[in-house]
């Protein structure tokens, strides 16, 4: 599903974000990306949906070399990749269901599809009762559920989660992880960058550790350290 071949990314001033990374992630896997701040986790994720391009090496997503993807096709790549973040990135002037519907509207899904899929996904993330609330009326955990609903409503092949529990307390985080696990069980590949030792140790999934841009460890059913 995802394959990196000798991928390097160097920012201005010789700051190496990734050095010669080679790894492969199979369809349906759940992978934790760990490492200290500045180790290259975010860059790794940003390469996958082509928010950035590698300086060398090849990134394959769903069997395609995305480096050879022309600009106007990038949106179609992104429709296959859901993404969630530490800061949720919700639109404050829209309700929960409008936030989710937005993701379908802007890729031109017809209205009747939107009106059936949005309630279904809100049901899945357990927010049916809050459909008409605004993000500021929700707790952090609930907001992250909305953002997961938005990322998943289009049934992407891959879900990228960049520190999704970074702003949440441990109890709430557990709920989010259960949700991500359920999404993973539907066959969606999940790549999650995290600092949360407890979560990684508890879930016992594959762990890829980055250190100063190097791939330091790639361990099946691994722990944080």
């Amino acid at each position: 599903m995802i394959k990196l071949e000798n991928v390097s990314k160097i920012y201005k001033g010789d700051v190496a974000a990734l050095r010669n990374i080679t790894c492969e992630i199979q369809k349906g896997e759940f992978v934790f990306l760990v490492g200290p701040s500045g180790s290259g986790k975010s860059t790794f994720m940003r390469l996958l949906n082509k928010e950035e391009n590698p300086d060398s090496g090849i990134v394959y997503v769903a069997g395609k070399d995305i480096g050879r993807l022309s600009g106007w096709r990038v949106p179609f790549l992104r429709r296959n990749i859901g993404a969630i973040f530490q800061d949720f990135k919700l639109l404050d002037n829209r309700t929960v269901s409008q936030n989710v519907a937005f993701a379908l509207e802007v890729i031109g899904r017809p209205r009747h599809v939107i009106s059936t899929q949005v309630p279904a996904i809100l049901e899945l993330v357990g927010l049916s009762k809050k459909a008409d609330n605004y993000p500021e009326e929700l707790s952090g955990g609930e907001q992250q559920r909305v953002s997961i609903a938005r990322a998943f409503v289009n049934r992407p092949l891959i879900l990228l989660a960049d520190e999704p529990t970074g702003n949440l307390d441990p109890a709430t985080s557990v709920g989010i992880m259960k949700l991500l696990d359920r999404i993973n069980k539907t066959g969606t590949t999940v790549v999650m960058a995290t600092h949360d030792r407890g979560i990684v140790d508890h879930m016992r999934k594959r762990v890829i550790e980055l250190d100063h841009g190097h791939l330091a460890r790639d361990q099946a059913r691994g722990v944080y350290e």
């Binding site: 639109l91 937005f102 802007v106 890729i107 031109g108």
Partner: protein, 296 residues
């Protein structure tokens, strides 16, 4: 491209309601700028129209009687050829004169219909070596008494003066119009930049979930184009009023031109041109703003 017109309308009205002052300010600047530019063109057309016979340095005209014989006409022609003070001359026959007349009064059917080609006087349009008014008067006098001559009319200084004045007006209008156009461009550019900034979160989410580049760009471009379009369309009453003012100036005030007014068809063309220019300005400014501030 998957875009719904309803969505576009909603985006636009949202954008306008968010900062109406910026939208109106930009719109008014475009309007004033285009009114100046269009107004200058209207003056030019009106003066061209009124001085159609006096173009290309023609300083005096010898009108022949409509019944003048070919011999009489040839005599004048030879006399003009023989005069070293005359640089060149152009003979306008009855048909050409009739056509010119029809053209000058193309908006007034009543005047057009009362004459026929047969009644039109043929004439010589004369360009002297020296356009000095005293020399021209002297030259003109040499033809007044010749057989077959109906009237000799010289381009008195006033006509030239008015041409000069209108040229200056035109120049000022064009410069002011262009300066305002630059400021209109910058205003549209900044309006779009502000809009992009205000909606950066939405743009970010749109990119994230895979909205196409055009889907993201169109609302911003539409806002710039809408400002240009409205600014252009709204120049009509101003240009109309300005043209009416000119015609009254021609009729009452100056009395020299019986018809100082741009023909209606030309004025509509100027109006459409200004509208197209407005749209172009909006499109250019928003495209530049998008390419600089919208990273898609």
């Amino acid at each position: 491209m998957n875009f719904r017109i309803g969505n576009l309308g909603r985006e636009l009205s949202y954008s306008i309601r968010r900062s109406p002052s910026l939208f109106i300010g930009t719109l008014v600047t475009i309007l004033i700028s285009l009114t100046f530019l269009g107004g200058g063109l209207v003056v030019r057309e009106a003066v061209n129209q009124a001085t159609e016979r006096w173009q290309d340095d023609v300083e005096f005209i010898v009108f022949m009687n409509p019944e003048a014989s070919p011999a009489e006409i040839n005599a004048i022609s030879s006399k003009l050829d023989a005069n070293p003070e005359i640089e060149r001359h152009n003979y306008v026959n009855k048909e050409a004169a009739f056509e010119e007349f029809q053209n000058i009064f193309r908006d007034s059917e009543q005047i057009r219909d009362i004459v026929s080609a047969e009644e039109m006087p043929p004439s010589f349009r004369i360009v002297p070596q020296n356009p000095d008014s005293e020399v021209v008067e002297e030259l003109a006098d040499q033809f007044r008494a010749d057989p077959g001559v109906f009237e000799v009319v010289a381009a008195v200084d006033t006509i030239r003066q008015i041409e000069n004045v209108t040229n200056s007006i035109n120049w000022v209008f064009t410069v002011v119009g262009l300066l305002l156009l630059v400021s209109a461009l910058l205003l549209v550019y900044n309006t779009i930049r502000t809009t992009i900034f205000a909606r950066r979160r939405e743009v970010e989410v749109m990119r994230l979930v895979g909205a196409s580049n055009w889907y993201i760009r169109v609302p911003f471009m539409a806002e710039g184009v809408l400002q240009g379009l409205l600014g252009g369309l709204l120049t009509l009453p101003f240009l109309w009023r300005w043209n009416t003012f000119l015609s009254r100036l021609g009729g009452d005030g100056l009395a020299l031109f019986d018809n100082l007014e741009a023909p209606r068809a030309d004025m509509m063309l100027i109006w459409l041109g200004m509208t197209a220019l407005g749209v172009l300005i909006g499109a250019i400014a928003s495209t530049v703003a998008l390419s600089r501030f919208l990273d898609v």
